[in-house]
Amino acid sequence: MKTKHIIAGSLLLALTLAVGFFSGREFLSMRQDDEIFPSSGLTAKKMLSDYFPALKDTAGDTEVFIFDSAAKGGNLLIVGGTHPNEPAGTMTAILLAETIRAAQGKAVIIPWANASGFTHSDPQEGSPQRFFLETPAGRRWFRLGSRVTNPVHQWPDPTIYVNPMGQKLAGIEARNLNRAYPGKATGYLTEKVAFAVMALIQKEGIELGIDLHESAPEYPVINAIVFHENASELAAIAQMELQAEGFEFRLEASPPNLRGLTHREWGDAAGIKAVLLETPNASHGRLKGRPTISLIVDGKDKYYEQAARLGRLFVPYGPDGIPLKLRVARHLAGVRAILASFNELEPDKAIELADMPSPADVQAKGLGPFLK
């Protein structure tokens, strides 16, 4: 009788170890990188640490894909995965890396900008760790990460985060790549990643930078082109082209006092034309129901439908939801229109990307047929 609680304790401890083992294995599986199969137009594959060696062998290092035409033209940077819980940004970057060829100028693509953020998911959200797409070669998986760097890689958060531009933010923002620009060589891991991106911009002679994001349907900056003031004309022309194509985009000027973001610091610190694109993603909104793989891919949610009926959203949201293929199509249309606008304004630095899937095709057929 005396040993009854010892036996119970031993059994419970064994159960704990079993649960710890299996759940630990699940969590650790997120540290396995997604696969990517670049197009034949790829001319060089580098790592972000090639531009800032202090990142080597850290969780912040990530792959950089370069498509160089060798023909005189401008240099473009496309960044996905700044926020790893915004899959349309990452998927657009992957789709471009697997399809394009540079016909003029050079394109540099970073699909997983915050690589550490892809190794975990947001706590207490119950988000799926990955989603799946059918491709001609079979079923492929892609990780859905967290908005911020993994605390295992950057810890602890300060009470108040003072970013490299001196802006005071909540402590968790120390792990938000889109608050860490222009970065800091001796700072937090996230600041080092931002610093490396700035070094890449300088070394590759980037003139136009596009950062691909998503936002919640109840957030006002949505279906938008957020632009640095040096890209205002470019953004306005792109918006007109997009409207002519049937894509509604609003223009949002980058607030000069909101520091540390790509559309602000790429323009201020590097002097490039910087824009950020936003599409609506119900899977990371606050009004969503159960977060499922289907919500990420199909984008249907009855609570968002109800919110739309009540006029609480900043985008139309019907029974068909806002699927990933539409969000990626919007990003592709945005990239194409921005490039066309850039080429019109800077004909001597034109950038031409060949073999880019058309937004209409992606919207009609989905992403799968265009991936390898």
Partner: protein, 47 residues
């Protein structure tokens, strides 16, 4: 900083295991292991 974190988590984990075997009420033992799983994951830096 990481060593300090490990030491704190290890100390708490040992305390939890110690109390697991001292506690005589089964339901309190069961409640305790719910917390212990999280501490074990933290101990191995699994997020």
């Amino acid at each position: 900083m990481r060593i300090l974190y490990h030491l704190i988590v290890l100390y708490m984990t040992i305390q939890l295991v110690w109390y697991l075997f001292r506690e005589k009420n089964f339901w309190k033992q069961a409640s305790l292991v719910l917390v212990l799983v999280l501490f074990l994951l933290r101990l191995f830096l699994i997020e």
